[in-house]
């Protein structure tokens, strides 16, 4: 369940008393994030509204939504790793059940990333939601 993954992440981050350690942990996730090949990092895949460059690739696989992401900075890649872990390989209904505030507020990302980066996280989740909503529009048309 998508909610279980969100709870798992909240739990992982709650181990850090010092926000700097949590930040370093996300940077570490960023270093290990698979990312995209250089030729996949092109303008049509850029997500608008992020402070630094973020690319999002989407495709459908057996009725599920697949997302692959990359960014410039490790901290951004780390945040993308978390976002991908939550939303990748899901059905539209599941995807739409988790909003940006769930990750920023409930999981607590808000406490150690700047408002600019919070907006970036919102922008990418909104783009992911748009893919999910597009499918639903087509299905119910």
């Amino acid at each position: 369940m998508i909610q279980d993954v969100v709870n798992e992440i909240a739990n992982e981050l709650s181990f850090f008393d010092d926000p700097e350690d949590a930040y370093a942990y996300i940077i570490d996730l960023g270093k290990r994030h698979a990312g995209l090949a250089p030729q996949e990092k092109t303008d049509p895949y850029l997500v608008k509204g992020c402070q630094s460059r973020v690319w999002l690739h989407h495709h459908r696989e057996d009725g599920r939504h697949r997302f692959r992401t990359d960014g410039d900075a490790f901290i951004v890649r780390g945040l993308l790793a978390l976002v991908t872990r939550v939303f990748d390989d899901r059905e539209a209904t599941e995807i739409l059940s988790i909003g940006p505030e769930e990750l920023l507020g409930k999981v607590g990302l808000k406490s150690f990333i700047t408002p600019g980066r919070q907006n970036g996280v919102r922008a990418i989740i909104e783009r992911i939601h748009a893919y999910a909503r597009a499918e639903k529009t087509v299905t119910h048309a």
Partner: protein, 397 residues
């Protein structure tokens, strides 16, 4: 003098650490005199200016207009009417681009060094035939020969330059650049945003046609600034904003405009902001600019020497003189990651492109980090920053 304590910076913590504020290129903290002047206006004589006959409005108008005299002295303008109040450097430049350049050299280009701030690029792109980029050398100095060639070209109508580059910190030989422009009979505008608080400015000696600066980079509040314009140029300038305060007589058929400077100051202005800026300018005028410069040179030397000892750090633009700001990149580290880690150590630096994409393109990088200094920056701040930089780089390895 312990500026850090009088400015209140010694009492600020971030992430439970004492603040080391090195983002002065973006905005400085306010000097106590500016804070007090704003407080006095807001609590003892708040009223609109240039309106009404009551005592409070008269008092506000008097203090507000007195700022013009202070700013006139700060830059040694020949006449107080040549100092136009603006919300900041950006709007001052926009007024010249829209109100003067569009009408007088709209079919020609504007020569400007490749390292300019976007505010000193985009208005010219918008209202003239475009930019004639002036080469910046690999070590970050304006190529003066290319400036001379550019100003001699028929297609170039004027020249503009930042006195101190907000990215590289390089200080231009403003006198020489102005002399060259004058010899070609071309007007010149100086963006003095980064120099007004660290170099004694004299627009008469420089012979520039315009000089724009902001309050918030000279220890005053944000949203206030000034544009010096030579009176002949101001006479030729069309206002950018229309409304109250800039008119002489309005009928429903026709309006005649007020004299300069009021012609360029439409609407109720940022009264508290200008009064705060005036107080900051008064305060600056009682400082010793040689001492300010010596202080910053010492900080710069210490910072550059420290950075040279850290493997993987590359400073952008090593040309001297260099004041106020040092931008750098770190091998295999994104500026944003480093700035984030430095923040946890209490160090505030700028990361990104610092509103200057072209200079980053020139150095072949997406962005950089920038540490920028002010009168209250101490050698301990620099040492703390260098330590934090080393630690943060280790965390990213």
């Amino acid at each position: 003098m312990d500026y850090k304590s009088s400015f209140g910076l010694d009492r600020v913590t971030v992430h439970n650490r004492p603040l080391v504020y090195l983002d002065n290129g973006a905005t400085t903290w306010m000097c106590p005199a500016a804070r007090q002047a704003i407080e006095a206006y807001e609590t003892t004589y708040r009223a609109n200016v240039h309106r009404g006959v009551h005592a409070l409005s008269a008092r506000a108008t008097e203090r507000y207009e007195a700022v013009r005299d202070t700013l006139t002295r700060l830059i040694n303008a020949p006449d107080r009417n040549e100092v136009i109040y603006t919300p900041g450097t950006t709007e001052g430049i926009n007024l010249v681009a829209f109100g003067w350049a569009r009408r007088h050299i709209g079919d020609r280009k504007v020569a400007l060094p490749e390292f300019e701030h976007h505010a000193n690029i985009v208005p010219w792109q918008r209202w003239t035939a475009g930019i004639r980029p002036v080469r910046v050398t690999d070590d970050g100095a304006v190529d003066v020969d290319d400036w001379e060639r550019a100003l001699a070209e028929d297609q170039v109508g004027m020249g503009v330059f930042a006195h101190i580059s907000n990215v590289l910190g390089t200080v231009q030989d403003a006198q020489r650049l102005c002399d060259i422009a004058r010899a070609q009979g071309k007007p010149v505008l100086i963006d003095a945003a980064q120099s007004v608080a660290r170099l004694a400015l004299d627009v008469q000696a420089l012979g520039c046609d315009w000089l724009a600066f902001s309050s918030h980079k000279m220890y005053g509040p944000t949203g206030a600034g000034a544009l010096y314009g030579r009176i002949e140029r101001l006479d030729e300038t069309e206002p950018m904003l229309y409304g109250g305060d800039m008119i002489e007589r309005v009928t429903l058929d026709k309006t005649t405009y007020a004299d300069i400077p009021a012609r360029f100051e439409a609407g109720t202005p940022n009264i508290a902001g200008m009064i705060g800026m005036g107080a900051a300018a008064e305060w600056l005028l009682t400082r010793d600019f040689d001492a300010i410069r010596a202080h910053e040179e010492a900080l710069m030397a210490r910072c550059l020497a420290g950075m040279a000892k850290i493997d993987g750090v590359r400073v952008l633009g090593t040309a001297m003189p260099k004041l106020s700001a040092v931008s750098f990149v770190v091998e295999d580290a994104h500026p944003m990651d480093l700035a984030g880690l430095l923040d946890f150590r209490g160090v505030a630096v700028r990361s990104g492109h610092h509103c200057a994409h072209p200079v980053h393109d020139k150095f072949g990088i997406e962005g950089s980090l920038r540490a920028s200094f002010a009168i209250y920056t101490t050698e301990e701040d620099i040492d703390h920053f260098l330590d934090a930089l080393t630690t943060s780089m280790e965390k990213l390895r």
